[in-house]
Structures are given as C-alpha cells and as structure tokens.
C-alpha cells in the first residue's frame, strides 16, 4: 500500500521530500553514533577478535603470538598411508555435537514450555481480581533472583541425600529411593529444564501480559454479546492478536536459551547430558588451554544463533503475510 502511495505522488515533490529525508537520516546518524561506538567497542571488537583467533593457533599463554592456520580448528583431515582419512577439528568432535544437541534440546523444550505456561499465567493475570497487583509482583520473584543463587538453591533442593524434593517424593511414596537428580545422567537435563522453567516463566508471562493488555477490551464484549465460545475467542481473537508480542518474547528467550551457561555450569557441572555449546567452548578456552579451538566453537555458536534469528524472523514475516490474505 505504501509503495503505491509514494508512486502516485507528483514528481515535483520528490526533490524536497528526499532532501528532508536526508536531513532526517543525518540527524538519526548523529543520535546513533555514540551507541554504535560503544557497541563496537564492547561487542563488535571482541567478536571480531574471537573470529580471528579461531583461524590461528593462539594459546592462552601467548595471546599475541598466534599463527594463521586457516580452517584447522574447524575441520582438517589427513590421509594415512593405509588409505584411511582421519578428520579432526571442532566439526569432527563428538563432544561438540553432543553439546549442540544438548543446547537444541534444552532451548526448544524450555522455551516451548515457558511460552505455554507464560501465556496461561498471563491470561489469568489479565483478569480482574482482588490482589492482582500483588500477584503480579510476586510472580516476578523467581526472575529477579540471580541465576547463580537460584541454581545453588535448587541444587540443594535436588540434593540426593538432604534435598527436600527427594524427601517430599519419598513421603508421598512416588519414589522408593533417593534420586541424584542433578548428577544422574538420565535426570540431569530434566532438572535443568525444571529450574529454567521455574525461573523464566514469569518473564514470559510478563511479556505476554504486555501483549494481552494491548488488545482492546471492547472486542471481548462484542464477542460476548455475539455469544462466541471463550475457547473460540481465544484461538480466533486473542491468539492472533498477541502473536506479535509472543514472537518477540519467544525470540528473546530463544537467544537466551541458545547461549545458556550459568545455570548448567552451577547445577550440573561436567555432566555429559547437559553440557551446552557455551559450556564446552569455555572449557576449551580456559581449562583445556585450547584457546583457538574454543574460539572456533564460540564462532560457530554465534553463527548458529545468527542463522536461527534470521530464519525465525523470515518465517514470522511469511506467517504474518499469510494472515492478511483470506
């Protein structure tokens, strides 16, 4: 619609309009310049350095003495005299692929559950009831607690010998013997997911609530007069109208989840079942003294997140267009 409008404008106006535009653009640039500078210093430069390091053999002890090695940290192969080809580098590293898989599993499951729960909580909080303000504030507490604190707290609650969770489940007769929730390879991911959902659902709920409150009340009254079933109203009115807000919330959470580190590092240290990309790359960077190798993994993590975001935005746009057509 916009394009047809600007096309139909008389040509004579074009010149003055474009000079006005230029003026606006220039002003915008000046306003943005300080932020862009700061961002470049604290985000852009370190990122570029990491990418550079990933193509060298830099080590932690000699940060400036690295030599250019090309894609060696990513993938190389040597063919032995026996004719066998041996691959090495991150992309051939099973630990790395395990971490990728863990990260994806964690992100998809946690964000899905948080979105559904968050939307449900938001729907409740959007209703008028006594003490709503108090509940709204109270529900934010898990989100306000620093991750390290809540991870330690849950670590204790999930402790196999003294943990209150085991105690309660035993008392209820749901388990026969104490479970080592965080160190058991079968339950470690589950524990991490539970804690993350507990911690982050309030955040999702708040974002959803903001979206819900943008929907005018009167259309619900119109639906009520028309006698439309509440479930139908939810799927045909509420959901389409909160979708933009929901999309933003999901993308925020997804970005956060894909680079999850602190919760896993504290709650389930060194568990193969939960190690994510961030955890693995930190290990290589700091602990294993494979600085360049860790840099390559960080770069891959960055690339995966970037691809994901582009894909998500693209899909979202397609979807939005699909809606306007009948």
């Amino acid at each position: 619609m916009d394009t047809s409008l600007s096309l139909s404008k008389p040509n004579t106006k074009l010149k003055s309009v474009s000079s006005l535009r230029q003026q606006k653009l220039r002003a915008a640039m000046w306003f943005l310049a300080p932020m862009v500078t700061v961002l470049f210093c604290v985000a852009g430069w370190p990122l570029l350095r990491s990418i550079y390091f990933s193509f060298t053999d830099t080590s932690l002890t000699d940060l400036y003495g690295g030599q250019w090695v090309g894609f060696k940290n990513y993938l190389t192969w040597t063919t032995l005299s026996s004719g066998r080809t041996i691959f090495s580098g991150t992309l051939a590293d099973p630990t790395w692929w395990n971490a990728v898989w863990n990260t994806i599993k964690f992100s998809v499951v946690s964000v899905s559950i948080e979105t559904i729960l968050g939307l449900m909580v938001a729907l409740v909080l959007n209703q008028e009831f006594k003490g709503r303000g108090l509940v709204r504030a109270a529900i934010l507490i898990p989100w306000a607690i620093p991750t390290i604190v809540s991870a330690k707290m849950w670590g204790w609650m999930l402790n196999d010998q003294f943990g209150i969770i085991n105690h309660m489940l035993m008392a209820l007769g749901l388990i026969d013997s104490n479970v080592a929730w965080t160190s058991n390879i079968d339950t470690a991911m589950f524990s991490v997911l539970v804690v993350d959902v507990w911690k982050t659902t309030p955040f999702m709920a708040l974002l959803c609530l903001a979206g819900l409150q943008m929907i005018p009340r009167d259309i619900y009254e119109a639906a009520k007069i028309d006698g439309i079933h509440p479930v139908r109203v939810f799927f045909h009115v509420t959901l389409p109208l909160v979708r933009p807000a929901l999309m933003v919330a999901v993308i925020f959470r997804m970005l956060d989840a894909l680079r999850v580190f602190d919760l896993i590092y504290i709650l389930t240290p060194n568990s193969k079942a939960t190690k994510t990309m961030s955890v693995v790359s930190r290990e290589n960077l700091i602990e294993f003294d494979k600085f360049a190798y860790g840099s390559a993994q960080s770069t891959l993590l960055f690339a995966i997140i970037a691809i994901f975001v582009c894909l998500y935005i693209w899909l979202g746009k397609l979807n939005l267009n699909g809606d306007t057509q009948r």
């Binding site: 009167d218 009254e221 639906a223 009520k224 007069i225 028309d226 006698g227 009115v237 109208l241 009948r326």
Partner: protein, 350 residues
C-alpha cells in the same frame, strides 16, 4: 421485536450508586434515545440492558420474560460500540460473519446475510479490507453491519457517531434513521450526549441525570413541556434563556424560561429592553444577544429579514403562551400566572 421493561433498576459499583431506581417502558419497535450529560449513567444503563453489567436490584424484562439472569448472547441483542470494537485482524467480511458461525446457519445463509447487510450499508466493495484500511465512517458502517446481520430483536447503540466528523455524523444519522424504518422488527436503544441527535432520531427520549430518569417523552413533549429545569436547559439548541431574581419574580416563579424563538421585537410593548451586545447571522436566522441586566444576556432569534445591528437598543416581549416557569426545586409551575396564592414568592422572600 421486543417490549422492554425496566422496573426499579439500580446499579452500584462498590459503594457508588450509578443508576438509581430507573423505571422505564420501551415499546416494541420504537427508537428510544437515552440522552444526558457525560457521566449521567447512559452507557451503564445500556450495559445493564445488554447484560455486560449485572443488575444490582430491580427487574429487566423483554416481552415479559425476565432477563436478569440471562447472558448477553441469550437476550437476542446486537450492540454498536462507540469505539466500533471491530476485530482488528479480520477483514470486513469476517468481522460481520464471525458472530454468525455459531448460530447454526449454513455457509450460504451466512454469506447471503452478510452480503445483504453490506449492500444495504454500501460497504459491499470493502469486504476484503481490514478495519485499519477503512475510514472512520466506513468502520462505523461495518460495526452497524455486524449488528444487523444477527437480526436481533433489540438493537443497542452507544454513542455511535461521536468519533465521526460533523458532516459524516449527519449522514450516518440519516443512515441509522433509515435502518430504523427498514428494520421494523427491532426495538432500538440509542445512547448519546448530543441532544440534537436525540431530537432528530428519537421516537421517544429518556433524559438521564445523575443516574435518574428526568423525563421520558417524545421530542416535542420534551421541547415544549419540559417537566424540570434540567430538561429545559438540556433540550433545545441554542439553549433556553433562563431568568432569575426580579425577572422571575414578576412572573411568580424562581426561574423563568423562554426559548429564543419565543421572543419578539415589540418597541411599543417591550417587556425587557437592552442593548445588542453581539449578533450571529446563520443565514436563515439571526441571533442577537441582549443585555437586559440579567446574569447572562438574553438570546433572541429573529428571521433573516429583520435587521438589527450591534449597539442598538431593542425592546422585546415573550409570547405569553410559551413561558416556562419553575419553582425552587426546578419543577414546572403549571397554574396560570396570578391564579394561585404564590407560595414561590413567600418562600423566596422568607
């Protein structure tokens, strides 16, 4: 078609009483207008009738059937909201059809009903547009269309024209009047704060003030025999002249009301005399403001033939049978002047 009866209807939010003991009988098929200043409880009364608010006490019946405990969708009503309340993500067709899906109608039936309503309102070329792609007037038509397709027995309008500009308001007003004539089967209740809208549309008007009914009657009744000072002030444009103090004392009342068109220039028999402080020429009419020493200047309507200019001294007299006299409670005095031992004067001098 439904006859609507409100018996002792009251509504309070917490401790504040918003609607007080309203008794009202709305005849089947008539267009009743609720009019009153902002905050007088018009919307609340309408929402009580449609069931969006619960009635605190009293009884609401449609055709003798109690509606107090019926949900809105069981009452057979349609409502047009001031803000249109269109579904922003649905196109015009879907907006109009959405409420019909459930009503056990076949897709062809739905389509036909929507098309008929759209043709009637001349929005059939807009069916695939979204609300945000429509002008205010078009949105209003869609909202009205959505109400029409449900074929309700009661039609409710809450200030449907207040978001439109002046010329569109007049056009849409005509449209609504037309719908009222075409849809003989529906009783209509129309809420407005604009007395001109009320006068032009209504079969009968209900004037609300502070949650209470001041007067119910046809536009003519309200205009010619207001039964309170409030109604006299509220109905009529420009407003009635109200004189107090000595001016009223001469006529044995607390407040003397006289409409601008019921004053005539008569130099020989002038009741009041004063200088013209302002004139307004509307083409067909000439309004003059006379300073006769009252609190606010006396407004007189003249025909366009009469020439009066600012600063001139003019004498006027009221047409005797068009005087409105009110006592200290704002109630009209019906007895002819001088016919009763004036209690008004006694209380006033006391």
């Amino acid at each position: 078609m439904a006859q609507i009866q409100l018996a002792n209807i009251s509504k309070h939010f917490g401790k504040t009483e918003v609607i007080r003991e309203v008794n009202l009988n709305i005849k089947a098929g008539e267009l009743m207008v609720f009019v009153g200043p902002s905050g007088s409880g018009k919307s609340t009364l309408l929402r009580l009738i449609c069931g969006l608010e619960e009635i605190s006490s009293g009884e609401l019946t449609f055709d003798g059937e109690s509606m107090n405990n019926k949900v809105p969708s069981e009452r057979g009503i349609s409502m047009v909201f001031q803000s249109y309340a269109l579904y922003p993500h649905m196109d015009v067709y879907k907006n109009m059809a959405f409420g019909l899906k459930l009503a056990k109608s076949s897709p062809e039936d739905i389509r036909e009903r929507v098309m008929n309503a759209a043709k009637m309102l001349q929005i059939d070329h807009l069916l695939d547009r979204l609300p945000k792609q429509l002008s205010g007037g078009q949105r209003q038509r869609v909202a009205i269309g959505r109400a029409i397709v449900r074929n309700p027995r009661v039609f409710l309008f809450d200030e449907p024209l207040s978001n439109l500009d002046a010329s569109l308001r007049v056009a849409t007003r005509l449209e609504i009047a037309k719908i009222h004539h075409e849809m003989k089967s529906a009783t209509m209740i129309y809420v407005t704060h604009d007395q001109v809208e009320a006068m032009t549309l209504a079969d009968r008007i209900c004037v609300l003030n502070n949650g209470e009914v001041e007067q119910v009657g046809t536009p003519e009744e309200l205009y010619h025999s207001p039964n309170s000072l409030f109604v006299a002030k509220f109905i009529g444009s420009p407003a009635m002249n109200l004189l107090e103090g000595d001016f009223a004392k001469d006529y044995q009342c607390q407040t003397l009301g006289i409409r601008p068109e019921h004053l005539v220039i008569d130099p020989n028999e002038a009741t009041w005399q004063g200088a013209v402080i302002h004139t307004e020429n509307l083409g067909s009419d000439l309004y003059i403001y006379l300073d006769i020493g009252s609190d606010s200047p006396l407004l007189v309507r003249l025909s366009d033939q009469q020439k009066v200019s600012k600063g001139e001294i003019v004498g006027v007299r009221p047409k005797w049978d068009h005087l409105h006299r009110f006592d200290q409670h704002g109630k009209p005095i019906s007895a002819p002047i001088g016919a009763e031992p004036s209690t008004v004067l006694e209380t006033q001098s006391a």
